[in-house]
Each structure stands twice: as structure tokens, then as C-alpha cells.
């Protein structure tokens, strides 16, 4: 693996991790909140609700895969 590729892979694994849908979901949820506030709506409940949904999605998605040995942090 080339150094730049492995550098990019390290940061991707470090920040995004196992489930890229979480990163996309968080970005969308924050964007929706900013948009709502911009329109004058104080949607304080939206971000917690979105995070609860994202957590359920990623955990239940991961719980479909068989148990793996090893234990990365």
C-alpha cells in the first residue's frame, strides 16, 4: 500500500470507523438542524432523535454479522 493511501486509510478508520453511514447520518442531521434554525425553528429535539435512530441502525446492523474474534479498540 502506498504511503499516501495508507495515511488516508488510517484517518478514515480513525474518524469514520466501521460504519460510514453513521458519519453521513451525523452530517445530514446537523445540516437539517442548521437549516431549521435558519428558518426560525428551534428543533432542539431533532439531533437527539436522529442520534438515537443512527445508533439503533448501526448496532442492529452490526448484530446481524457473526461474532468475530480479536478485539480492536
Amino acid at each position: 500500500m502506498k504511503p499516501i493511501e495508507s495515511f488516508a486509510r488510517f484517518w478514515y478508520d480513525f474518524i469514520v470507523g466501521d460504519d460510514w453511514r453513521v458519519a453521513i447520518g451525523v452530517a445530514v442531521a446537523i445540516a437539517v438542524t442548521v437549516f431549521a434554525v435558519d428558518r426560525g425553528a428551534n428543533w432542539w429535539w431533532f439531533l437527539p432523535a436522529a442520534v438515537g435512530g443512527l445508533l439503533a441502525m448501526t448496532v442492529l446492523g452490526g448484530a446481524r454479522q457473526p461474532a468475530r474474534s480479536g478485539g480492536e479498540s
Binding site: F14, I15, V16, G17, D18, D19, V22, A23, V26, A27, I30, T33, V34, V37, D38, N42, W43, W44, L47, P48, V51, G52, L54, L55, A56, T58, V59, L60, G62, A63, Q65, P66, A67, R68, S69, G70, G71, E72, S73
Partner: protein, 250 residues
Amino acid sequence: MTHNFVVVLASFLACAVEMVEALTIVLAVGVTRGWRSTLIAVGAALGALTLVVAALGPTLAVLPIDGLRLIVGGLLLVFGLQWLRKAILRYGGFKALHDEDAIFAEEERAARAASPDRDGLDWYAFTVAFKGVFLEGLEVAFIVVTIGGAQHNVALAAIGAVGAALVVLAAGLLVHQPLSRVPENTIKFVVGVMLTTFGVFWAGEGAGIEWPGQDVALLGVLGYVAAASIVLVAAARRRHVRTLAIAVAA
């Protein structure tokens, strides 16, 4: 006040759990290959981490607080949800629990198998110990810089991290073996809940929303994230039992 305490606590726990992992690698390499090169590597890695924090901390301090909280909140959310996901799946039985004894044995075996360097620095010991401390430490540095930066107070988060480093180091020196009795997954679960809570709260503030009850809302978000996570642990466990039952029946 609530903020400050939770910042120090989150930083302390995150640092403690990563320090346990780094200590396992350092002990295995040090015991097998000798301490001179291992300790030089630990010093070099800590120096590199100090440079990372010193470079990023002041940069974050000059950014406008709302924009900073939006970005930091988003990063903490992604990061916190990752920690929570892994901790919940481990509780559910879908991932193996971190086993410091097994990691220590594996590192020790690899260190014995590598050819010895007779002169000067032992590059095998240096590289493995440096990598272990730097990579585990980078995660801590990231947490310290982001949660400290969002409060415009990196020093506050650093207090928690340094405190944890001292506690784990003292425990390591005392027992001189991997700290396998540390309830690592429980700490990771708690840190995941805290990072996710800060992420929600700061991303919301950065976006411009007004939390009901203002700062007290942080405790409400904390309770909500913890409750949701506990419910998901129960769901994951149920699913694991069902998966095993189907596998046995097949």
C-alpha cells in the same frame, strides 16, 4: 461547573482505557526485548503527542466558538457513536471482549520471534512500543483537543488525561503485568455515552438551537443517550441468543 466536571471525567476515562492498551504493548516489549529502547520509544511517542496537542490546541482556541462547536460536536458524535457501537456489540456477544492477557502473550511471542539487534537501539522494540503508545495516544489527544477546544479550555481536558496516565502508570509499575482486571468495555461504554452526549449538545449549540433549561439539558441528553444505549445492549443480547439458538437447531 457540570460541564467542567464531565469534561475532566470523559477525558480521564478515555485516557485510562487507551493507556491500559498502550501499557500492555509496552510491558510485553519491555519484558521481552529490554527496557532501554522501549522507554526511549515511549518518550519519543509522548513527545510527538505533545507536539500534536500543542499545535492543535491553540489553533482551536482562536476559532469562533459556534463554528468550532458545530465541527467538534459533529466529530465527537461520529467518534462517540463508534465507541458505543463497539461496546454495545461486545456486551451483546457480537464482538469479542478485549483480552489484555491474550494481547500481551501475542506481543510477547512476536517480540521473542523477531531477530535481536545487538548494537545500539533495538529497532523492533522501538517501533512496536512507539506505534503502540502513539496510536493509542492519538485517540486520547483527539478527545482532549476536541472536548477541551469546544470549551475553549484544552487545559481542563488535559488535567483528566494526565491524571489517568498517572493512575494507569502507577498501577502498571505496581503489578508489573497487564491490567486485565480493568473493566475495559464498561469504561468504553461510559466514554461512548459521554462523547455522544457532548457531540449532541455542542453540535446543537453550534447550530444555534436553544436547549430547554440551557446547560442543565446536558444531563437530560446524557440520560437519554445512556438509556437508549442500555436498551440496545438488551436488544443485541436477545438477538445473539436467538442467533445461537438457530445455529444450534440447524
